[in-house]
C-alpha cells in the first residue's frame, strides 16, 4: 500500500461529537412486544379508539411478515423482544405547557447539539419540533404558525386535537402492510411530527424536527405526516443524532407526504445517527420508509438527504406521481465510512400524464464500508409523456470499500423518456498530491474533493443546512488521512 493510500485510510478515524448520554429519569416500558404493550402504548398516549385498532391491525399483519433480505447489507437478526417500545423523560400528566416545565437536562442536551429550544435563541425563520426518544418534548413558534393557519405539532398531539385529519391521511401513502418495518412502525410508533398547510398558504418559516435517541435498549419509531393542501408550500428539515453505545439500536421510521394540487413540499434530511465505532461496534440501524404522494395536478415533492450516520441505512424516499404534470425529485449524498453499510436510493412511480422525476445520487464510500444505490423508475401505461433523468455517481476513498448500483427501470408507456447515467471514481493519489502541493493538508484535500463531488446535491439544501452538511462531511472523514 502506498503512502497516500495509507493516509486516506487514516483519515477515517473520526470522532462522533454527538455521542454523549443525558442522565434522566424516564418512564420506560419493560422490554418486549405483544398486544398488551400496544394497548399500554395507546393508553399512555391517550389516543382515540381508531388508533388502537389501527395499531393492532398492523401488529397482527407484522407477525405474518419476514424481515426483508434483499438489501445489500449484513446484520444479525434483531430480537424484537429485547427492545423497549416506549421511553420518555418523566413529566407531568398532560405534558409541558411551556419550556419552563421541560426537564432542564433535556433542554441542555438540545443546547449541546446546537438546537436551542428557547425561541429567543432560535434563528428566526425555523420552527423546531424536538423528539427525544419516544416523545416530542417541545415545538417552537407554534403561535406564529397558528396565525398562518399552519398546524405543526407532535403527531401524538394531532391524534388528540385533529383526529379527523389523521384518520383521513395516515397510512394512505405507506399502508401498514407496505413492508416489514413499516408494519412494525404502524403498530408501535410513539411520536413524530405532524404538519398541515392549508390551501394557498406558503408556510412562513422552515419547519424542522430534531430527533434524538438517548435511552439504551429502546427503539425509536417515529411517524411523520405532512399534508400540503392545494396551492400550499412548505420546506421541512429533519436532523438526527444518538449517543455512542456498543449495542445496535433500531430506528424504524415512517414518513408520509401528501401534496395536493399545485402544492410543493421540500423535505431535507441530515442524518447523523451514531455510526458505530471504527471497528463496526454499535451504531443505529436506520430502517426507514419515506414516501410522498404527489396526489394533485402540478404538485411537486423534492427529497434531499445527506446521510452520514447509522451503522446500517435502509432507506428509499420515494415519490408516487399520481397527479398529471406532477414532479418528483431526489437528491442524495450517502457517505459510509469504517464498517458502515448503506443501501439507499429512491423509487419514482409515474402514474399521471407528463409527470417528471429527477434523481441525483452521490455515494461516497471510505474505510471498509459498503455503499449501495438502489433505485426504481416505473412508468405506468397511464403516464404518457413521462420523463425521468437519473444520475448516480459513486466515489471511493481508499481501497478497502465498495460501491454498488442497482437501478431498476420498468416502462409500460412508449412515449416515456428515461435517462440513466452512472459513474464510479476514486480519489486518486494524483488529486491528493496536487492539492497538498498547493498547501492543503491531506484531510482538507479529501474534504474538498468530496464536497466538490456532492456539489449538485448540496445546492438543493436550504442554506443553513448546506453549511452544516459540508461541515458534517468533513467531520465524517476526519482522521482518514494524515
Amino acid at each position: 500500500m502506498s503512502a497516500s493510500t495509507q493516509e486516506i485510510n487514516n483519515l477515517i478515524n473520526q470522532e462522533y461529537k454527538q455521542g454523549f448520554v443525558t442522565e434522566l429519569e424516564t418512564d420506560t416500558f419493560p422490554i418486549g412486544l405483544d398486544e398488551d404493550v400496544i394497548h399500554r402504548l395507546s393508553k399512555v398516549k391517550n389516543e382515540p379508539e381508531f388508533m388502537l385498532e389501527y395499531r393492532l391491525k398492523a401488529f397482527r399483519h407484522w407477525q405474518t411478515m419476514k424481515s426483508p433480505e434483499w438489501a445489500f447489507v449484513k446484520f444479525d437478526p434483531i430480537d424484537y423482544q429485547a427492545i423497549s417500545y416506549y421511553s420518555a423523560p418523566k413529566r407531568k400528566e398532560d405534558g409541558p405547557k411551556s419550556l419552563d416545565e421541560i426537564d432542564p437536562q433535556v433542554l441542555e442536551a438540545y443546547k449541546k447539539l446546537g438546537i436551542p429550544l428557547d425561541e429567543q435563541e432560535r434563528l428566526a425563520g425555523i420552527a423546531v419540533d424536538a423528539v427525544f426518544d419516544s416523545v416530542s418534548v417541545a415545538t417552537t413558534f407554534k403561535g406564529k404558525l397558528k396565525d398562518a393557519g399552519v398546524i405543526f405539532c407532535p403527531i401524538s398531539e394531532a391524534l388528540r386535537e385533529h383526529p379527523e385529519l389523521i384518520k383521513q391521511y395516515l397510512g394512505t401513502v405507506v399502508p401498514h402492510t407496505d413492508n416489514y418495518f413499516a408494519a412494525l412502525n404502524a403498530a408501535v410508533f410513539t411520536d413524530g411530527s405532524f404538519v398541515y398547510i392549508p390551501k394557498g398558504v406558503r408556510c412562513p418559516m422552515e419547519l424542522s424536527t430534531y430527533f434524538r435517541i438517548n435511552a439504551a435498549n429502546t427503539g425509536q419509531f417515529e411517524r411523520t405526516l405532512i399534508i400540503a393542501d392545494e396551492g400550499s408550500h412548505v420546506s421541512y428539515l429533519e436532523g438526527c443524532t444518538a449517543p455512542m453505545r456498543d449495542e445496535n439500536q433500531l430506528h424504524a421510521a415512517v414518513v408520509e407526504l401528501v401534496a395536493m394540487k399545485d402544492a410543493t413540499i421540500k423535505y431535507s434530511t441530515v442524518q447523523n445517527w451514531y455510526p458505530g465505532d471504527k471497528n463496526g461496534l454499535g451504531g443505529i440501524y436506520n430502517f426507514v420508509t419515506k414516501r410522498a404522494d404527489c396526489r394533485g395536478e402540478n404538485s411537486k415533492v423534492s427529497w434531499t438527504q445527506v446521510e452520514t450516520g447509522s451503522a446500517i441505512t435502509w432507506k428509499y424516499p420515494s415519490c408516487v406521481l399520481t397527479g398529471d404534470n406532477s414532479i418528483g425529485e431526489f437528491y442524495s449524498v450517502a457517505l459510509t465510512n469504517n464498517y458502515q453499510q448503506a443501501d439507499t436510493g429512491t423509487k419514482m412511480i409515474h402514474i399521471g400524464k407528463n409527470t417528471r422525476s429527477t434523481i441525483i445520487s452521490k455515494g461516497i464510500s471510505a474505510g471498509h464500508a459498503q455503499n449501495t444505490y438502489r433505485g426504481l423508475v416505473k412508468v405506468l401505461k397511464s403516464a404518457s409523456g413521462a420523463r425521468n433523468y437519473t444520475q448516480c455517481d459513486s466515489l471511493l476513498v481508499g481501497d478497502q470499500c465498495g460501491a454498488h448500483t442497482f437501478p431498476y427501470i420498468e416502462v409500460k408507456q412508449p412515449s416515456a423518456q428515461v435517462e440513466h447515467e452512472a459513474t464510479t471514481s476514486k480519489i486518486s493519489e494524483d488529486q491528493l498530491f496536487f492539492c497538498q502541493q498547493r498547501g492543503l493538508s491531506a484531510e482538507d484535500a479529501v474534504s474538498m474533493i468530496v464536497n466538490g463531488f456532492c456539489k449538485e446535491v448540496f445546492k438543493e439544501l436550504p442554506m443553513e443546512f448546506a453549511v452544516e452538511a459540508q461541515a458534517l462531511l468533513g467531520l465524517s472523514l476526519e482522521g482518514s488521512v494524515g
Binding site: 503512502a3 498530491f433 492539492c435 497538498q436 498547493r438 498547501g439 492543503l440 493538508s441 474533493i449 464536497n451
Partner: protein
C-alpha cells in the same frame, strides 16, 4: 535557496537518481534538460514531496532546512511550487475556491490572516488578465474540460497567486502551441524576482527561447553530465543528447 548534495533516489529498488549535485541561488533560473527516462521528472517529484520514491542517500537543503523531512503541504507552504506536467481535474471544485483555500493555508502557515474577499478578487483578476485567460475559468471546476494549453496556463496562474520562492516547472512546454507557449513564458518572466528561483525541467530548447536561463544542466542516466550557461541549450538543440551520453560513457 536550494542545495542538493549527492542525492540518490530509488523507485521500486531501481536507482533512478545516481548522485545529483545542484546549487541554486535566489533569483536564478536553472534549466534541467535531458533525454526521456533520464530522471528529470523524478527530480521534480522528489523536490515537491510526491510519494513513491525512496531517498537512499544525500541531502536536499531548502532555505537552510532539510527539505526531505517536510510533508508535501509544508513544502508548499514554505514556498515550493510544482507546476505539474499533467495537471489533474477536480470535478465540482471551482478554480477560485481551490486558489483561495491554497492561499489561505499558506498565509495561515505564516501566521497571516485570511485574505480579504475583495482583495483576493482584485488580485486574481489582475493575474487572469496577465495570463490572457477568460475570467470564466475561475468559476469552472479545476482543470475539468480544459484543453492542454488551458491546464498549463492554469498552473502558472496558481503560481502567480501563491507567489512561491522556488518554482519547479515540470515540462511546462509540452503540449503547448507557440502562442500559448509565449503567454506562459511571459507569465513566468513576470514572476522573475531577486528572491525567487526557478527550476525548469524540459526536453526541448524552445521554451528557453522565451525564458532565458542562467544555467543549463544536462541530466542523463540519473546524473548531471554537463552544466553550462544558456548557450549549452543551443548546442544540445543542434547535436542532440547522444554525444553527452557517449562522452560520459567514455570517461
Amino acid at each position: 535557496m536550494l542545495s542538493i548534495k549527492n542525492l540518490t533516489v530509488n523507485v521500486n529498488d531501481k536507482q533512478i537518481l545516481k548522485g545529483i549535485n545542484l546549487e541554486i541561488k535566489p533569483g536564478e533560473i536553472h534549466a534541467i534538460m535531458g533525454p526521456n527516462g533520464s530522471g528529470k521528472s523524478t527530480l521534480s517529484h522528489i523536490l515537491s514531496g510526491k510519494a513513491g520514491y525512496t531517498v537512499t542517500g544525500g541531502s536536499v537543503t531548502y532555505q537552510g532546512k532539510d527539505l526531505l523531512e517536510m510533508a508535501p503541504e509544508i513544502r508548499a507552504r514554505e514556498g515550493v511550487f510544482l507546476a505539474f506536467q499533467y495537471p489533474v481535474e477536480i470535478p465540482g471544485v471551482s478554480n477560485i475556491y481551490l486558489l483561495k483555500a491554497a492561499l489561505n493555508s499558506i498565509r495561515k502557515h505564516h501566521s497571516q490572516p485570511e485574505v480579504d474577499a475583495m482583495d483576493f478578487l482584485t488580485l486574481i483578476k489582475d493575474k487572469v488578465r496577465l495570463l490572457e485567460m477568460d475570467e470564466k475559468f475561475l468559476y469552472r471546476a479545476v482543470n475539468e474540460g480544459f484543453s492542454g494549453g488551458e491546464k498549463k496556463r492554469n498552473e502558472i496562474l496558481q503560481m502567480a497567486i501563491l507567489e512561491p520562492k522556488l518554482c519547479i516547472l515540470d515540462e511546462t512546454d509540452s503540449g503547448l502551441d507557440i502562442d500559448a507557449l509565449k503567454v506562459v513564458a511571459e507569465g513566468v518572466n513576470s514572476l522573475r524576482a531577486a528572491d525567487r528561483s526557478f527550476v525548469m525541467v524540459t526536453h526541448y530548447q524552445r521554451l528557453l527561447d522565451y525564458i532565458k536561463p542562467d544555467f543549463v544542466h544536462v541530466l542523463a542516466n540519473g546524473q548531471i553530465v554537463k552544466s553550462g550557461g544558456a548557450e549549452l541549450a543551443l548546442e544540445l538543440e543542434e547535436k542532440g543528447y547522444s554525444w553527452l551520453e557517449d562522452s560520459k560513457a567514455a570517461i
